[in-house]
Amino acid sequence: MGEQGMIEAFQSEFMRNALLAGLLAGVACGIIGTLVVVNRIVFIAGGIAHAAYGGIGLAIFFGIPPLAGAVGFALMVSGIMSAVTLTNKQRADTVVGVLWAVGMALGIIMIDLTSGYNVDLMSYLFGSILAVPRSDILMMALVDFGVLAIVGTLYNSFLAMSFDEEFASAMGVRIGMLYYVLLAMIALSVIMLIRIVGLVLVIALLTIPPFIAEKFCRSLKAMMAVSVLLNFLFTVTGLWFSYTFNLTSGATIIMIAAAFFFASVAYEKIREHVGGG
């Protein structure tokens, strides 16, 4: 398929929606993913993503929109996680692991209990970017706007907390509050990503772009911007590959990201070698 085919592909309605969803998710996830990586809370982000499945199960059982259930449940779980992390750091790891599994199990059982419900579970586990409805795109735009506004206004505080929490606290930065806001933003970003790549693959898309960006950036701001651009690149390329070769889109996007990830590691190794020699 040549250039012609690609333009054709993005002209179809569902492909245009998919592309738009990918780009919108890329904004929030580049910014939040950066904060996740520098704060070393990848495990917490994973916990929120999987626990959110409990919310999807509950929503289906009670007949409310699954996305609303996921958002509500993930916000609650992130609240518990931030409280535990702040009061008992040693135990936080374990609690996050338990919430991770319990949320997942709750989701599965609630769907079992919903008689006659035969939802395509695969679409939550591995994403369904090609079936993103207009309403989701609107929600993604709202989340982007919220994340940009919050991180934009509290940038100095987020930078100081991520770099040295104790110094920030001594300067009067309200760490507890800020940490909860961060985890809530992670919850919202993660749920956007569930649409795109599914909850199993969320972590890869949240962490790979910032990980690559970290090697080349000298400020948190730059790292966020580069992560957003990398997200765009991975989503567009991934979508094109999946369309051309008829592959699952979420998994293809992740493979593209992984290819860049390994290339960046190799590049760094070579540069170290040349620089050192």
Binding site: N156, S162, F167, G172, M223
Partner: protein
């Protein structure tokens, strides 16, 4: 009536039911230069974190110029121990120094040109101006320590707390640091914490020994009792007069030899 810079009254702190500080009372007057000595694990860092309001004591009260530590946020400059974990953090030397301005009102507003001028002045003071655009992870331990000192100074603090500030700096900077602190002491109160008696210099006007509880002497003298109580075995005994001098005490085993 003038308020003490720091006033701690019967402060106790527990970590997992394990007492770290027991009934510590301490009064530091404005423009004092206090050294708190004590072996590793004696609660020195915990004491500083309580003064800063990072940790809350289980019992007792603490006042900074009559205010609670929370109200006093932004009055204290803090130089933490250099135990660095995240070496890849994307932040430049200059941006770290600017973090000292976070205590000002409207903390998340853009840094003003005054903030930047102050950070520049302070980075020059510690000899790190030439490195201002360097990522923090690309510095040596000693250089990083200087940047952390600069960050504490951009606070324009009324009190400066330093936790083992000379642990990873070279001898030259140690001397520079001592004269810088002496100069700063004309206007601000300084508390320095260390397990290493070499931080004691002629500029210090008060010494305390900490080992879960505090042994404080108002003069710059370290008495034998204080040292005996804080350290298990008597170490160097330091005295200060107009001319600083150091008196080396005999060690226990030497005493035994004499018998």
């Amino acid at each position: 009536m003038s308020l003490s810079a720091i006033e701690m009254d019967n402060v106790s702190f527990f970590y997992n039911n394990h007492p770290v500080l027991m009934n510590v009372s301490l009064r530091v007057e404005e423009q004092d230069f206090l050294a708190i000595m004590g072996p590793n694990g004696s609660g020195k860092t915990t004491l500083l974190k309580i003064i800063l309001g990072i940790l809350n004591p289980a019992r007792g009260s603490i006042r900074i110029f009559g205010k609670t530590p929370l109200e006093a946020a932004g009055m204290i400059g803090y130089v933490p121990q250099d135990t660095w974990l995240n070496k890849d953090f994307p932040v430049s030397v200059q941006d770290v120094a600017l973090m000292g301005r976070l205590g000002r009102p409207g903390r998340d507003r853009r840094y003003t040109s005054d903030d930047r001028l102050l950070a520049a002045k302070v980075l020059q003071q510690v000899g790190m101006w030439d490195y201002r655009d360097r990522p923090i992870g690309k510095l040596s331990g000693g250089q990083r320590q200087r940047v952390l000192i600069a960050r504490a100074l951009t606070v324009e603090p009324k009190i400066l707390l330093l936790d083992e500030p000379t642990s990873s700096v070279d001898a030259q900077f140690q001397t520079d640091l001592h004269s810088l602190l002496k100069e700063l002491n004309d206007s601000i109160t300084i508390v320095i914490v260390s397990h290493d008696v070499s931080v004691l210099s002629g500029y210090i006007n008060s010494v305390a020994c900490l080992n879960r509880t505090l042994y404080h002497h108002d003069s710059g003298e370290l008495t034998e009792e204080m040292l005996n109580a804080a350290y298990q075995c008597p170490v160097d005994l330091i005295a200060h007069g107009q001319v600083p001098h150091r008196v080396l005490r005999k060690h226990d085993h030497e005493n035994i030899d004499e018998r």
